[in-house]
Symmetry: C2
Subunit: 728 residues, 2 copies
């Protein structure tokens, strides 16, 4: 073993020597538990740096670490504005090993192993005597590291002008990126060489989004998935972004070096810190197998354990809602067309003339409640239930909603009673219109209102420019707000599904009532012009790294003009929509289409009725970014072995070869396969599908063809389960 | 009468002709009820303008009106960013008269007459078809006018880049001004010619204040008091500043024209408007008698009537507090010296070592409660009762206080009980450290906490730079915050005394639970280096125009080094401090010195014990800005005629000649006069005073000498009141 290590180190020396790196006493090295990932740390002229390799291939070349501080006009001493960039010496080193298995409240697997080797280097700035700790955790599938600042007289408070964490890439990788932006994440992902980002940047921006704030022509968002020419999959993101600004990456496309670029607040400053404190973890995931990118728990593992003591009220949730009909344009969130603008304190809704197209009316909501009850769905989301929607967007308006006053045609009492009788709950909707000041003023009352009426989940929204004006969606202050809402919600035993909030960084481990996020381009864009067919085989590599997405799948009637004036077509096959319930993991899954559309495809809909949204085990069978994702998931039923398999592909189609060796018993399984018909095509023939039922057994091999923009979905039920079979 | 009017108009023509003004069909003129004030309105090349004269002397020369709009990136139409500056034509004119007498919940007088003539001109912008109304109210002591924007398709939302309201002065007046500043009002007032503002500006700024944001070398704050060479007193301020930024004035010192300069928020923009809406009233008070400046109710009258239905819980309040001993430096707000910084969620106070100087300890607070009970004071303010003070200021820190957690040595239960037994209430203190985000998150809980413990008044504070960061103390958003606190407090039946908040504009008429404000340099500065002796004979002309000030008078031990290490000396005589209870009207009066200091001057203290802080009637007897103010006020006792007279002067001293013709009955009055001793002097001999008791009657003339920096105080009780005498 020692000989192997020596060989490896020798190889690394050859790598590092290319970068003219000296090994001296400040140089520290660390392997991951299985030795596939190797971390190098050292100091160069007072500047700390690191590098990462994977199986002796460079992943991150020599990359400097440091923070640039802003002048703090409040500071009594000048010291606090001296940068934390250089003049460092190593004063202490600690290495340790950690191996623990923990159970998430909900997740892709019932147990998660957290196994890493840790290196903590304590650095001292010579002139200032200030201490900074760099903590590295090396996993078999990547590295996480962060800056830590112990409390100390000369580093008590400080202001971050910019974090300068480098990630020097070893080549001109292929990257799946979206433009760096302080206010939107709802972009179509670009696939290009790193060197091509600049030339493609302008066209990659979704300029029509409600709030756009790009900052650099080579600025991109994380999680950023890359692939090297040698077939290494590399992913850069962050974990546990708490009380800190969200990180972007800005590329120096001469050296292929990314550098962190934080989101500022209204002052242009990027972080207000009080020691003791730390940055979020900066993560670099790496593997030579794309499936490892999807099965990795590195980001969850770097988050703190659950802080909510009693989690009994947190539950995976399948829901439908009065939503898609508004997105498509058949009905409206607003109740009337009478008003030029709305003043919640003065506008009289009682005398207003209804526009006749208001979706959230009592009768229509009852229809959805009936649908939910009939099909085993837990909840019914109702958007547009509360006054203000006539004038909710586009004017940086502050007092947009009060979150407690229903429209005259929404009978709150009747509907909650009706739902209760049917064993269903209504799901609350709080669109804030990004008027955060207003939301915080109403939050306590709004949550009390939910408790009073029996709601236990809220979908929040942050469409538009932030109030306090000048602030951005992903700044430290806004990240604090999102956490504040999640924490206050937990006190009220409320689950949160935040839309347009900061992209997640694994915080759902710590606060599992954060049951969902949007934070990317969702299904709604299918009605606004379309998502590319490869969109949902990129998201698992990027957006989903930090936590589940409320992607709102299930649009079986992909041709919207069959039931509305919307000319758009969803860019998947019908079966592709079924597949998403398996390939896009989320404990919160919407059944997004209209009841009447599901009635048209009742046999296919059966899969949506059946599929759970919590899992015992997940095995990624096939994966390639922007090409295909195939995953088998074990349902959390005790006493029966039951699996769901989903496959989704891009516009090229894909043939999956699935060996059923994951099945746990030797008996037969009842297998139902929902597949694209032979001539299916996401554009030309999206609704051609077959449903095949057969008996299979462990070890069988299934070959399933996915159409262009298509997919497949499959259920496998142990034929002879014990009588004790129960849902866990 | 017609002939007189004609003459007057002729005179005005000569004035206006100097400014080359044409009388055309858009020209409108209006007199005040007694014809002393005259308003001229017209349009010049599409630009509206006005002028004001007083008894045929020019007060405001031709001054343009208009608003510059900012580009609204959210607007769907370009129209909304077209300025509201010109291209206007007159489309309608309405004149009316109003005369009403109303009763304030508390005030200087029991009844207030609101009598004005009104001119409302409706203007239409030719190109845009947008309507703007200018509403002028002409009082006998000045003019108020505002911009109104009816709801209309082409003016629905708009953003104000700047308001360009001009106030063209007719000469190089003497002005009492403080530097225009977005974040502090705690300046020493400057007396200079308008032309001297620029050269004196830099030295006039209180650069050491916790938050300074000056914007122009000729920028000043309102209320701005001026005096012309001809002896006209002119005051510019604003009334009813609601949902709008606070106005400053920027002087063009070539033309002696002021122009409005609003306070921006973090974006640099100054107003976010939704029609129907209006600006605050812009006010110009004028008289040839300085006393009219003080007795004017123009600003209160321009505010909306009381919006609080049941006001029975709002009461004038005399209070002492654990405060001056910290200001002077004898004790501390903080409990311990152990902490480098505080994290309210993690810092352990229970194990901290007390610093032994914490003012708000149970024993000391009891001492103040005893003092209050013994001397008929209503409440005891306790500052530094809640955790966080070790680290409350100077770092733009967000989570500074939670407003509900007492220090270990402050026994909340015991003290509230003890106070209750003694017939006294504790007064709450909420220092926000300007972390408004944090305060709003805790507000509901903090007010519930007050209700639970029986507090009915809160002193709030806004020291330091605002969070949300980048915002300013007097912006539209912050003004909305202050109103939000007052409104939420009213729901909890809580009175508010806001320190460092926006200077008041008469809103206490509408929300009489806004019982006090600081919003200027208070008594605390006497311990920080001193207020000039003329400070308190300027404030009634300036700061007090908008509402009462919690000036915290009553420092009888003016030489601070007699009981502390503080070397400062209060820059009034002892008797001068007594006078302030009469000359500086407030329904909230602090008895600010320490109990042991009052014990030293028990005979003089008797006046503070006796003097009420609500009045039936007020008669200003003598007044000259920065020189002297003398006022007689009738106590609100039924069945007895009882008056208090106070006089205060600057460093030159003053001899008041007071004719007692305001007394209402013909019998004798028991008169007690607290006067400076002959050799008294605010610096050299501040505590030399005499107390003289005598019998006087209506019509008597009293000659009372006030020492340099001194004053006098006097009570007059009808000798034979009816037996029914009760406090109203």
């Amino acid at each position: 073993m020692n000989r192997i290590k020596l060989l490896t180190i020798t190889c690394l020396f050859s790598i590092t020597s290319m970068a003219q790196v000296m090994v001296d006493e400040s140089t520290k090295m660390l392997y991951s538990p299985d030795e596939s990932v190797f971390l190098w740390f050292s100091i160069d002229g007072g500047r700390p740096y690191y590098s990462v390799s994977y199986k002796q291939q460079p992943v991150v070349k020599k990359s400097y670490l440091g923070l640039e501080l802003a002048k703090d006009k409040h500071a009594s001493k000048g010291l606090e504005e001296t940068d934390l960039m250089g003049d460092f010496q190593l004063v202490d080193t600690k290495k340790s090993t950690f191996d623990e298995t923990w159970q998430p409240v909900w997740g892709e697997t019932r147990e998660i192993r957290n196994n890493y080797n840790e290196l903590a280097v304590t650095l001292k700035q010579r002139e200032t005597n200030r201490i900074m700790i760099l903590r590295f955790r090396v996993y078999d599938d990547g590295v996480g590291f962060r800056y830590e600042f112990p409390q100390q007289p000369d580093l008590n408070y400080f202001i971050i002008k910019e974090e300068h964490t480098q990630f020097a890439m070893a080549g001109d990788h292929t990257a799946w990126w979206i433009p760096g932006d302080y206010d939107t994440q709802e972009q179509e992902t670009q696939e290009s060489k790193l060197s091509e980002i600049r030339s493609r940047f302008h066209d990659a921006v979704n300029w029509s989004n409600s709030s756009v704030s790009v900052f650099s022509e080579t600025g991109v968002q994380t999680s950023l998935q890359m692939k090297s020419a040698d077939g290494l999959y590399i992913n850069i993101h962050e974990a546990a972004c708490v009380d800190y600004a969200t990180m972007h990456l800005n590329l120096d496309d001469k050296t292929m070096t990314f550098e962190s670029w934080l989101t500022p607040d209204a002052t242009g400053l990027k972080g207000f810190m009080q020691t003791p404190c730390q940055t979020p973890w900066r993560t670099v995931m790496v593997s030579d197998d794309a499936r490892d990118m999807l099965s990795s728990n590195l980001i969850l593992n770097l988050n703190e354990p659950c802080k909510i003591e009693d989690t009994s009220w947190i539950h995976p949730t399948k829901y439908c809602g009065v939503w898609w009909e508004m997105i498509v344009g058949k009905s409206t969130w607003s109740y009337t067309d009478d008003f030029l603008s709305v003043d919640l304190d003065r506008t009289n809704y009682q005398t207003a003339k209804p526009n006749g197209r208001h979706g959230a009316n009592t009768e229509n909501v009852k229809r959805y409640i009936d649908f939910a009850a009939k099909n085993g769905l837990d909840q019914v989301l109702v958007e547009g239930w509360n006054i203000g929607w006539e004038d909710w967007f586009g004017h940086w308006k502050e007092y947009v909603f009060d979150f407690v006053t229903p429209y005259p045609d929404f009978d709150l009492w009747e509907l909650n009673n009706y739902a209760k009788k049917k064993g269903v709950k209504l799901m609350m909707h709080h669109e804030t219109s990004s008027s955060v000041t207003n939301y915080e003023q109403h939050l306590e009352k709004a949550f009390n209102f939910m408790n009073r009426w029996g709601y236990d989940a809220v979908k929040t929204g942050y469409v538009g420019d932030i109030i306090p004006r000048g602030d951005h969606h992903y700044s430290q202050s806004m990240n604090k707000h999102y956490m504040h809402v999640v924490e206050e919600a937990a006190k009220h035993r409320i689950m949160v599904n935040a839309h347009e909030a900061t992209r997640p960084t694994g915080l759902c481990r710590t606060y599992p009532n954060l049951i969902g996020n949007e934070s990317a381009r969702g299904t709604e864009y299918e009605a606004f012009g379309g998502n590319r067919p490869d969109h949902t085989v990129i998201l698992p590599f990027t957006r989903l790294q930090g936590g589940p997405m409320d992607y709102t799948p299930g649009i079986l009637e992909t041709q919207l003009n069959t039931w509305s004036d919307n000319k758009n077509q969803v860019n998947t096959t019908l079966v592709g929509q079924l597949a998403l319930y398996v390939t896009m993991y989320s404990p919160l899954q919407m059944v997004a289409d209209l009841p009447e559309n599901y009635a048209k495809y009742a046999d296919a809909f059966q899969f949506i009725r059946d599929v759970p949204c919590n899992w015992e085990q997940s095995i990624y069978l096939e994966a390639e970014p922007a090409r295909y994702v195939t995953v088998a998931r074990k349902a959390p039923y005790e006493g029966v072995d039951c699996w769901y398999v989903g496959g989704k592909c891009n516009e090229d189609g894909h043939t999956s070869v699935i060996k059923l060796d994951f099945l746990e018993t030797d008996g037969y399984y009842n297998c139902t396969i929902y597949a694209d018909a032979k001539n299916a095509h996401y554009k030309k023939n999206p609704k051609a599908y077959t449903i095949q039922k057969k008996r299979v057994k462990k070890g069988d091999i299934l070959k399933i063809k996915q159409a262009p923009g298509g997919g497949f979905a499959m259920s496998l039920y142990e034929a002879n389960p014990s009588l004790k079979a129960v849902i866990r």
